[in-house]
Every structure is written in structure tokens, then in C-alpha cells.
């Protein structure tokens, strides 16, 4: 389709388009999408809603978007803070974009869809997350070669840690502080098991119980962004991952010192 078939959008409508495209990009960036996906999605949405071109710059703590239609253009910046991984939101934005590209939705419908996506609560209740994350860490202890006592201890330590993390996060403490406190609690319980428990492999509980905090998504996204040429956000995400790892180690180290065990 050539550009001449598209009527240039008036400035008022450009404002609407940039708002919707930026909002979608913000949701992706906040909830753990890689930079390439954010750029492509914002571009597809904007052009599908009637612009000739979109320019997007993804930065570690914000999005810059320009919409261009005919002679007219508008630019908007939005600050973005990471809010934790939410694959349902990433998935929903992906589906929304596809429907817009296929011409199923107009701007008003996109807006109400975005409102619905933002206000949808998470699928899983908190207790289920605690249970499953505890089980995941306990499963890791099995992969590391632990016995059933280690499995049980890791499950309890990691589950308690996850509950503490949820509670602290809901009170809006600094993210790294939450990580240190969670590692202290989970690592402390695991260290008590190492000190007073029995079994050859019980040291494994220490590392396994804090795996729930591992910054897997920032680190994997960092590597992916760097490979795809998004150096700045890749470096920033790598730094985030390093700081989280350092905080975990700090909490774990404190726990080990308090209980009086050594070695990992």
C-alpha cells in the first residue's frame, strides 16, 4: 500500500495515536519485554492506526516516540519504571497489536482494550505463588543433587522468603532492600537447617533457597538486547541484574554469619 492512499491524520488524531502507541510500549517495557519487541510493537500499532512512520527510542528508564503523518508530526516522552515480569500483559499487548494491524479495532476500542489489560488482576492468588515458587526452588535443590530433607528445607525457606518478598513489595520498599531482606530470611532458614539438620548434601539448601530472587529476566533480556544492538538498555539491565545478585549475596552472607555457617 502506498502512502498516498492514506489520508494524513490531523494533529488532534496524531495526539491520540501517539498516546495509545506509547502506552502499549510502556506496558511492554514495564513488564519484562525486550527492547526489540517494544520498538516493533509501537511501530506496528502507530502505523496501523494511520501514521506514515513512527520513530521510537527505548531507553533504560523511558520511551521516546515520534508519530509522523504527512507533513505533521508529534513527539512524546514517557518515563518507565520496571514493575516486574507479567507475561499475561506482554501477551495481551501482542494480541492487541495483531488485531489492530488486521483492522479489527479503531482508536477508541484500542483505548478501552488497554484499560482492560491494565486493570486485569493477576491469574494466580498470592498463596499459590508462594507455594509454587517454594516448589520451584525445592526442585532446583533436587537438580543440584540434594536429598529429600534438603527438598523440604528449601521449600519452607524459599516459600517463607517469597511471602516476605510479597509483603515488603506491597509496602513499596526499595527493590534492592526487598531482595536483601528476602535473601536474609530465606537464607537464614536454610542456614539453620545446615547448622542443625542432618545429611551430607544439606549445604545445597543455602543456594537453592534464594534462587527465587535470581534476576533471570533482566539478565537474559540484557544479553538479548546487547546481541540485537540495543547496547544502552542492555548495559542498564545487566547492571540491574548484577546489583540484584549482589543484594542476594549480601543477604545470604549476613544470614550465614548470623547463624554461623560457611561455604556455598
Amino acid at each position: 500500500m502506498s502512502d498516498s492512499l492514506i489520508q494524513p491524520l490531523p494533529r488532534e488524531e496524531l495526539r491520540d495515536v501517539i498516546d495509545l502507541a506509547l502506552w502499549s510500549g510502556q506496558l511492554l517495557l514495564q513488564h519484562g519485554a525486550e527492547a526489540q519487541r517494544v520498538e516493533e510493537t509501537v511501530h506496528r500499532l502507530g502505523t496501523a492506526l494511520g501514521c506514515n512512520w513512527m520513530d521510537i527510542v527505548v531507553s533504560p528508564n523511558g520511551l521516546f516516540v515520534s508519530t509522523i503523518s504527512g507533513e505533521e508530526f508529534r513527539t512524546k516522552v514517557r518515563r518507565v519504571v520496571s514493575l516486574g515480569v507479567d507475561m499475561t500483559k506482554v501477551s495481551a499487548i501482542n494480541r492487541l497489536t495483531r488485531r489492530v494491524v488486521e483492522g479489527e479495532l479503531d482508536r477508541a476500542q484500542v483505548r478501552s482494550e488497554l484499560e482492560r489489560i491494565v486493570s486485569t488482576p493477576t491469574h494466580y492468588p498470592r498463596w499459590l505463588v508462594v507455594l509454587m515458587v517454594g516448589l520451584a526452588c525445592a526442585a532446583f535443590s533436587q537438580l543440584m543433587g540434594g536429598d529429600w530433607a534438603v527438598f523440604g528445607a528449601t521449600f519452607l525457606a524459599a516459600g517463607t522468603g517469597m511471602a516476605v518478598r510479597q509483603r515488603l513489595s506491597s509496602h513499596h520498599f526499595n527493590g534492592l532492600l526487598v531482595v536483601i531482606a528476602t535473601a536474609l530470611v530465606a537464607g537464614g532458614l536454610a542456614a539453620l537447617f545446615v547448622r542443625y539438620g542432618t545429611g551430607e548434601s544439606r549445604q545445597i539448601a543455602l543456594a537453592a533457597s534464594v534462587l527465587l530472587l535470581v534476576p533471570g529476566v533482566p539478565l537474559i533480556n540484557a544479553a538479548e538486547d546487547l546481541i540485537q544492538g540495543h547496547i544502552l538498555i542492555g548495559l542498564a539491565r545487566g547492571m540491574t541484574g548484577a546489583l540484584i545478585s549482589l543484594s542476594i549475596a549480601l543477604g545470604l552472607w549476613l544470614a550465614m554469619r548470623l547463624v554461623g555457617v560457611s561455604g556455598l
Binding site: 519484562g32 525486550e34 501477551s91 526442585a139 537438580l143 549475596a249 552472607w253
Partner: protein, 161 residues
């Protein structure tokens, strides 16, 4: 070539626990309910492949690359089947490969180095820090390249932006 049943049993157990770990992280990441089973399978198969290759003597970095590539391909297939973007399926699976223990040891080493009392002890700690940091970085790179393999090889679109 006959496969030792003992190895099959070990790999099967490995797959089961890795799948469990992937499922737990999928729930933490609020993966849509319809995608949970695929996350379990991806994590299980990716990690089991890594363990199997390491059992046959491959280094952890190369084995991780292979495991992550399998997760990448399964992710693309799952994305088509369940109509959701690939990261929904690849990220929980890839979490099972993340070198958490190497990363913790690096950072614990930094804290120990600050308290080192002699240059001999300090030297050994420094060696440990460098070793664990290198392992962490290489394994992470292997994961990222691995899960991007299908895109890098077969989906080379002209950039839209």
C-alpha cells in the same frame, strides 16, 4: 547404539524437576493459564538436554547453548500453537538454565575479598571471583544466543523500525 537405562532414569528425573522449576517461575511471571503446560515441557526438555550433553562430557557453556536453542525452537512452536508471544514460553524455560549459583559465588567472593587478611588468601579469592564471573557471563550469553537461535537463523526480517 544402546542407551543405558540408568541414564534414561537420571535424565527423566532431571526433566521432571526442571519442568517443576519452570512451572513455578511461570506462575511467578503470571504466564497465561493456557501456556503453563508448554512452559513445563520447554523447561523440562531444555534442561534435560543440557544435563544429557554434560553427562557425555560437553562443557556447561556449550551444553547450555544447545539446551537454550531447543527451548528457543520449542518456544516458536508453542507461540504458534497457543497464540502468545515466544518469550511467554522461552523465559520460564530458560530460567532453569540461569547460573544462579555461579552468580552468588561471584558476589560472595567480592564480600570475602573485602575481608581477606593475606595476599595469598586474597589471590585465591580473586581467582574464584574471576572464574565464577566468567562462567556466569558465558552461560548467560549462551542462554540468550540459544533462545534467539531460531530468530537469528530463520526469521531474518528487514527491521520495521
Amino acid at each position: 547404539m544402546s542407551v543405558d537405562p540408568a541414564i534414561l532414569w537420571l535424565v527423566g528425573k532431571d526433566a521432571l524437576w526442571a519442568g517443576m522449576a519452570a512451572l513455578g517461575f511461570a506462575i511467578l511471571f503470571n504466564v497465561p493459564v493456557r501456556a503453563l503446560a508448554a512452559c513445563f515441557v520447554n523447561g523440562a526438555l531444555g534442561h534435560a538436554l543440557r544435563s544429557l550433553l554434560m553427562h557425555y562430557g560437553l562443557g556447561i557453556e556449550a551444553a547450555t547453548l544447545a539446551g537454550a536453542a531447543l527451548i528457543g525452537f520449542l518456544g516458536i512452536a508453542s507461540a504458534r500453537l497457543w497464540k502468545a508471544p515466544a518469550p511467554v514460553f522461552t523465559i520460564p524455560g530458560a530460567i532453569t538454565l540461569v547460573p544462579g549459583t555461579f552468580a552468588f559465588r561471584t558476589m560472595l567472593g567480592l564480600l570475602q575479598f573485602a575481608a581477606a587478611t593475606s595476599s595469598d588468601a586474597g589471590g585465591e579469592i580473586l581467582w574464584n571471583i574471576s572464574f565464577n564471573a566468567t562462567k556466569t557471563a558465558l552461560i548467560l550469553a549462551a542462554i540468550a544466543v540459544g533462545i534467539a537461535t531460531p530468530t537469528l537463523l530463520f526469521d531474518r526480517r528487514k527491521p520495521v523500525v
